[in-house]
């Protein structure tokens, strides 16, 4: 049995298992504590300090994402001291963050912008040097704009703790701190596997999907949850659609098998769907050449030829190959068609291959 611990958050009583963080306890009673470096499923490091709360009797404000609850604890999540601390943190964060929100790819899904809005931070009061890193666009999948990095370290932890690739880490100190592959290599030169876990957790526009650049604002996307068509793991993700066009794939948080994790194929391989070499009309071979045909024409030819062959050579002269890539419903129909219409059990798929 895990011990239950009772505490008070903003005057409300809450009971949670021992070891629960204050942040999660607050969440349980519907109190949203802002956070930038905390991510469900990754270790807590308490780096951004935005989640600080006031704990009665504590010497200083406490990072709620890392501090565990204690019996009888009295917590204030939005006291004047806490609000001031958060405003200062946001003020410091945007001191060295380009405020090009008008054209930022992440606009609409940027946590930094959301919190600046919530806490009324329009511009920084700390004037000083700003980074001027070149934006890395040399690989086909991930755009890295380190000018927008707030050093929350979620990309580093996702790379190490989810994928286990350990491609990214912190380098340098102070103002020069950055997250980077070893030797400041570009991702294509590193041993990055382009799973894009880093992109899926990045709270700002520092890491974005290259395929989605300039294709629309995030709030315009219709997100359709589906199941990945590569391999048998059964990962879920969202297809992003705008004006009837497929724009990209983003993680569907909380997916039962994969949560936010995907691989290079699932996250970035979807564009085969819009490849210009897709077949769009039926084709009939005439004198060795494929010629476009109408559905009517093609289906009529198929039904008459299959009918003739069945008539002349019997049902077992026909065989169907169904597909381990198609849906259950399509597979069910292929075997039903083969058995009922063609009258044979000659149906198989590549489970063997």
């Amino acid at each position: 049995m895990i011990d239950l611990i009772k505490l008070y958050i903003n005057g409300k009583e809450v009971e949670v298992p021992a070891g629960t963080t204050i942040l999660k306890a607050a969440e349980q009673i519907g109190i949203d504590v802002p956070h930038l470096c905390f991510e469900e499923g990754l270790s807590s490091v308490g780096a951004c300090r935005l989640c600080v709360v006031e704990v009665k009797g504590a010497r200083s404000l406490v990072a709620s994402c890392a501090a565990a609850v204690a019996p009888g604890m009295v917590v204030e999540t939005h006291s004047p001291d806490v609000m001031e601390a958060r405003r200062t943190i946001l003020d410091l964060l945007i001191a060295n963050h380009p405020l090009d929100c008008l054209t930022c790819e992440k606009a609409g899904e940027c946590k930094l912008a959301d919190y600046c809005y919530e806490y009324g931070i329009k511009e920084t009061t700390f004037k000083g040097e700003k980074h001027a890193y070149p934006v890395e666009i040399t690989n086909p999948f991930i755009v890295r704009d380190m000018n927008k990095c707030i050093l929350c370290g979620k990309c580093v932890r996702a790379c190490a703790e989810v994928t286990g690739q350990n491609t990214l880490d912190f380098a340098y100190r102070g103002f020069n701190s950055m997250t980077t592959p070893a030797f400041e290599d570009e991702l294509v030169e590193s041993d990055c596997v382009f799973c894009g876990q880093c992109v899926s957790v990045c709270p700002t526009g520092a890491l974005t999907e290259k395929q989605m650049q300039g294709k629309g604002r995030r709030w315009d996307y219709e997100k359709v949850k589906t199941t990945c068509p590569f391999c048998g793991t059964g990962c879920n993700f969202d297809l992003c659609v705008k004006d009837g066009e497929l724009i990209g794939v983003t993680s569907h948080t909380g997916s039962v098998v994969n949560n936010k994790a995907l691989c290079v194929k699932g996250r970035f391989g979807w564009d085969f769907v819009k490849n210009e070499r897709r077949l769009t009309t039926p084709l009939i071979k005439k004198d060795g050449e494929f010629v476009s045909a109408s559905w009517d024409e093609a289906l009529e030819l198929i039904s008459s030829r299959l009918g003739e062959i069945k008539e002349k050579f019997g049902p077992n002269s026909f065989a169907a190959l169904s597909s381990a890539r198609c849906t259950n419903e399509e597979n069910y129909l292929v075997q039903k068609f083969t058995r009922t219409v063609m009258g044979t059990n000659n149906v198989d798929h590549c489970a063997r291959t």
């Binding site: 086909p140 793991t233 995907l262 085969f272 849906t327 009258g343």
Partner: protein
């Protein structure tokens, strides 16, 4: 799957993916390069290993997970049975087997005992190339760990003895009672997104949906009644037999939906000749594939993003596929199939895929409780016999599907073709992270970074052949030849060349063996003899 069906009564992953990180204390991987072929499962294995679960990797290649492993056993290709028998020999000799489980849940233990008696560690070591010391250590570790999961993929099944390999894996799990609880089990990870579902739906020559046998009069009568036609009562042809019969002229017409056997099936020149010989071929596809070139009629297919439906994952989880955009060819595949069926005198009247599912579920007891509504959040793992049933994350909890688990006595079966003087290299094939059997070559980004084959060759062999990474070589076997670039790496052992099967320009299956598992008709993709020449 036939191997597990023989032993347990059903062929599927016994346990669930999330048990890797939630429950398992030990993971043993035989013939699965999981971080590349099933990346998310592979990543979970790596997470588990780093949190302290023991990891045993049995693979001829030094795959990524070998770097994380407590034991990496570089097994000689095609010696899985002696390896597994060798472990069981040690486990029985040292009295580490689970006598209670064997007594209550299994039959035929004496047969197994007799068989594995002939596999003492020294002999096994000489066959497999694994040290006696490692055999003892791994046998003891697996047998004495409470929650141990076994995983395999095509490194076990793509051999002429694939079915026997699988039964040997199952023997090992039963011997140690590693079944029926979270964090245990025998777990074949299925390669393709809906290979489990295609089997479940009866896209197989011997069963209807839900694995109901076409030769069983009661099952046949049920489907005849539901479908309103008389149905054939004898098993149909498997893929290799279809192509064999097409070759011989007995099969005259084929309908191929979403498959590219010319690229993905072994011994592709034979497949080409068979397709050539057909009187009529229909291919329904997204792209003009190597196989579609042989078609008389090509029907354009709709992709996963263009249709509603379901896929069933390797852990038997049925999940929704949802239509995001309009079908590029103007209609979905289920609509095309309905139209064709109607033209041939058998009209179907489904208004949507959900109605197809409901018909199937009503005829298939193991899936009867699954509705689209119930799949909404996170899918359901079959068996799920009723609408109140929560689904089954872990199979064989109290009993096996056919009562008791059957031990099989299995002896070593060497590969059909081994390297010799003329063809001195062992060719093995598989998948790489960035590509899938189909579709990925049509992804602009993926194709721009990984557009050509880089066959793996050991530094010693590269030195002998005087080739370096990036050089082109000619690889030939008794069945065909190709050219490929090579990558010099100690991932492969000396004497092996390893290729993926993804590239049209270097089609590995022009070389692969004609050897087939006689039971499942799976090709021996993992072992063939080949010759390499510098060009």
């Amino acid at each position: 799957m036939a191997g597990l069906a023989t032993t347990f009564g059903s062929g599927a992953m016994t346990n669930s993916i999330n048990e890797i990180t939630n429950d398992a204390q030990l993971l043993m991987l035989i013939g699965t390069n999981t971080t590349e072929a099933h990346p998310i499962i592979g990543y979970k294995m790596r997470q588990a290993a780093r949190r302290g679960a023991k990891l045993i990797v049995v693979d001829p290649r030094r795959i990524d997970l070998a770097e994380e492993a407590d034991y990496w056993l570089r097994i000689k290709p095609g010696t899985d049975i002696p390896f597994l028998n060798g472990l069981m020999h040690i486990i029985i000799n040292e009295d580490l087997h689970d006598k209670e489980f064997i007594e209550k849940r299994t039959e035929n233990f004496e047969l197994l005992k007799e068989t594995v008696k002939n596999y003492p560690p020294e002999y096994v070591s000489s066959l497999t190339g694994i040290s006696v010391e490692d055999l003892y250590a791994v046998a003891r570790l697996y047998a004495t760990t409470d929650r141990a999961m076994l995983f395999y993929t095509l490194g076990i099944t793509e051999h002429i003895c694939g079915t026997h390999n699988v039964m040997s894996v199952a023997n090992l799990a039963m011997l140690t009672g590693h079944l029926g609880r979270p964090g245990t089990g025998v777990n074949p990870i299925r390669g393709q997104n809906n290979v489990q579902g295609a089997c479940d739906m009866g896209a197989l020559p011997n069963v209807y949906s839900g694995y109901q046998k076409v030769t069983d009069p009661a099952a046949r009568a049920k489907f005849e009644k539901a479908w309103g036609v008389e149905l054939p009562g004898s098993n149909g042809l498997t893929i290799p037999d279809m192509f064999e019969k097409a070759h011989d002229g007995d099969v005259k017409a084929m309908y191929i939906l979403g498959e590219n056997p010319v690229l993905t099936d072994p011994n592709s020149n034979h497949i080409r000749a068979a397709l050539e010989n057909l009187e009529f071929l229909v291919v329904q596809e997204l792209f003009l594939t190597e196989t579609a070139e042989y078609a008389d009629v090509i029907l354009p297919a709709a992709s996963f993003a263009e249709t509603d439906g379901t896929f069933t994952s390797t852990e038997r989880r049925v999940q929704r596929v949802r239509k995001a955009i309009k079908p590029v060819p103007g209609q979905t595949n289920w609509q095309t199939l309905m139209a064709l069926s109607a033209r041939m005198g058998y009209p179907l009247s489904y208004r949507n895929p959900e109605e197809i599912w409901m018909e199937m579920a009503s005829l298939s007891p193991a899936l009867a409780g699954i509705t689209y509504e119930r799949l909404e959040e996170c899918g359901i793992q079959w068996p799920c016999p009723s609408c109140e049933h929560p689904g089954t994350p872990c199979l064989h909890g109290a009993t096996f599907s056919h009562g008791k688990g059957l031990f099989q006595g299995i002896d070593h079966i060497p590969p059909a073709e081994m390297p010799d003087e003329e063809y001195p290299f062992l060719l093995s094939t598989g998948r790489i992270l960035q590509h899938y059997n189909v579709t990925t070559p049509y992804s602009t980004g993926i194709q721009s970074l990984w557009s050509e084959e880089l066959s793996e060759l050991h530094p010693q062999d590269a030195a002998k052949l005087q080739v370096e990474t990036g050089d082109k070589v000619k690889v030939s076997s008794r069945r065909g030849e190709l050219t490929t670039k090579i990558k010099v790496t100690d991932r492969v052992p000396p004497g092996m060349i390893w290729m993926s099967f993804h590239y049209t320009a270097s089609p590995a299956n022009a070389l692969t063996s004609a050897g087939l598992d006689p039971i499942t008709k799976t090709g021996e993709y993992k072992v063939a003899a080949a010759k390499i020449e510098k060009i």
